[in-house]
């Protein structure tokens, strides 16, 4: 049977598709410094390689971000997590969840994958200690059933890192 008979394939709204195609096109023309988008045919899940900025704690290290877009993108924030192994950072949990307000409450549809990536790199770069958040174990245990970080009620208290 051919592809036409597989209804499971994810279909997304025209708005989300147009916007993502545009973003991908612009990314390919002018990728943000320090990031590489892994080529794939899935427009709704981007895997992005992040290279730690020079002269920071993460210099030369490479991590992977996974960005998932919903049907309501860009109104709805994308889900952004680090794939294993997540960088050691006071705001990044060992399961890859990132405590960063723009990914949740402060999301704005004027932000793009590129601007989110830059925010995350800047968060990494300003870190002064390679350590997990204090409540890492408790949080990760609570997320064991595969909960999305978007369902977490985040507290954003630290504006230094």
């Amino acid at each position: 049977m051919t592809s036409s008979s597989s209804p499971s394939r994810k279909t997304l709204s025209k708005i989300a598709t147009n916007r993502l195609q545009k973003e991908l096109m612009e990314w390919q023309l002018d990728p943000p410094c320090g990031f590489t988008h892994r080529v794939s045919d899935n427009l709704y899940r981007w895997i992005i390689d992040v290279i730690g900025a020079p002269s920071t704690l993460y210099a030369g290290e490479t991590y992977q971000l996974q960005v998932d877009f919903s049907d309501h993108y860009p109104m709805d924030a994308p889900q952004v997590i680090f794939l294993h192994p997540a960088p050691l950072h006071p705001h990044i949990y060992s399961n890859g969840h990132i405590c960063l307000d723009i990914l949740y409450d402060s999301w704005s549809p004027a932000m793009t994958v590129g601007s989110v990536c830059i925010s995350i790199l800047s968060m990494l770069s300003s870190s002064t200690a390679k350590q997990r958040p204090a409540d890492n174990d408790r949080y990760v245990k609570n997320c064991r059933n595969g909960r999305s970080p978007k369902e977490t009620r985040w507290w954003f208290h630290d504006d230094k890192v």
Binding site: S4, S5, K14, I15, H72, M75, S108, P109, A110
Partner: protein, 346 residues
């Protein structure tokens, strides 16, 4: 000397004319000869402030030899104009001033500037929400309506910003927020002013038909592409194609179907039955059987033929039991044709 005086009084009269025309928009920097003034230029088409996307303050400084030599023209300040458009504005006014040399040209230059800026009264760049140009670069394409937030002057397609407002409202509703906070600018987070909400409301009202149409259009499309009959149609097509490929030629049974529509009726019932309880695969069988029924003796290996016959005889029996017309099971296909034709007589 008298010629000079004549020129000077002419120039001064000109300055007064500019003052009279532009009032508060005009600012005299040097009143005595050679005069120097600035004029705040806004698009002629922008009587409604929400429809103003650009403005500029241009300076005109006459030289000693004015009007023999054109005055010095510069842009003091501008909004909504990038370098390219600023250059376009200034170059156009300068070339106009050269054309008019030895005439009193202050008023003409200001009017020219207004003309040019009126033509440029559209926001620049892309809508921050959909990332497509606010104003089509290609003049043939139809421009989408756009609007400016009054509080911060950020521009969006009206449709895009309205969707954002609607989304925020939905989120608030679903979270049961009593908060009447209506939203903020996606770019700078400044709170929407009441005027902005009014604009969005107006847009949604006037264009709700358009919006609703677009939405339902895509919804309909999705629904149509996923609906059962469409899926069945596609499966049928795929199977037909497969059989055609296998036989490297046209699928012969298509002919009897079109000639005898009654033969089609039991055939179409089989897949509905089977699809409900099993899978697409059994529908596949149904189609194969149809192929066999009409071209019984010509092709396929005998083992395969038998298999299909068996699997289908059960099904056909159940169908006939429903319609209370039981052909002997041994006779299989040929009597069935007889029975359908018999059916057509009354």
């Amino acid at each position: 000397m008298s010629v000079d005086e004549e020129i000077i009084s002419g120039v001064m009269a000109e300055v007064e004319a500019v003052l009279a025309m532009y009032g508060d928009d005009c600012c005299i920097i040097r009143a005595e000869f050679p005069p120097h003034l600035t004029v705040h230029i806004t698009p002629r088409t922008a009587e409604i402030s929400s429809q103003q996307f650009v403005e500029a303050v241009i300076g005109i400084e006459a030289v000693v030899k004015y009007p023999e030599e054109p005055p010095c023209i510069y842009i003091l300040d501008s909004k909504g104009l990038d370098y390219k458009r600023q250059q376009h504005l200034i170059k156009s006014i300068r070339s106009k001033s050269c054309d008019l040399s030895s005439c009193f040209m202050f008023v003409a230059l200001c009017e020219d500037a207004i003309e040019i800026i009126s033509e440029m009264n559209y926001p620049e760049g892309e809508c921050p929400l959909c990332l497509y140009p606010l104003y089509p670069e290609n003049k043939d394409s139809i421009p989408q309506p756009f609007m400016k937030l009054m509080s911060c002057f950020h521009c969006f397609h009206s449709g895009c910003i309205s969707k954002w407002c609607k989304w925020l409202q939905q989120q608030n509703d679903s979270e049961g927020n009593e908060n009447t906070h209506v939203g903020n600018c996606p770019v700078c987070r400044k709170k929407f002013s009441s005027k902005d909400m009014e604009q969005v409301g107006n847009f949604l009202e006037t264009d709700s038909t358009l919006l609703a149409y677009n939405e339902s259009d895509s919804e309909d499309e999705k629904e149509f592409l996923q609906c059962d009959t469409e899926n069945i149609r596609r499966n049928f097509f795929d199977l037909t194609l497969e059989i055609q490929r296998k036989r490297s030629g046209l699928f012969e049974p298509m002919k009897p179907i079109s000639i005898f529509p009654r033969m089609f009726l039991p055939e179409s019932r089989i897949p509905v039955d089977t699809i409900s309880d099993t899978s697409v695969g059994s529908y596949g069988e149904g189609v194969h059987v149809l192929a066999e029924e009409t071209t019984l003796t010509t092709f396929e290996g005998p083992t395969e033929v038998r298999k299909f016959k068996n699997s289908n005889s059960r099904r056909s029996r159940s169908y006939y039991s429903k319609t209370e017309r039981k052909p002997p099971p041994n006779k299989k296909w040929i009597p069935k044709e007889g029975s359908t034709s018999g059916n057509s007589v009354p």
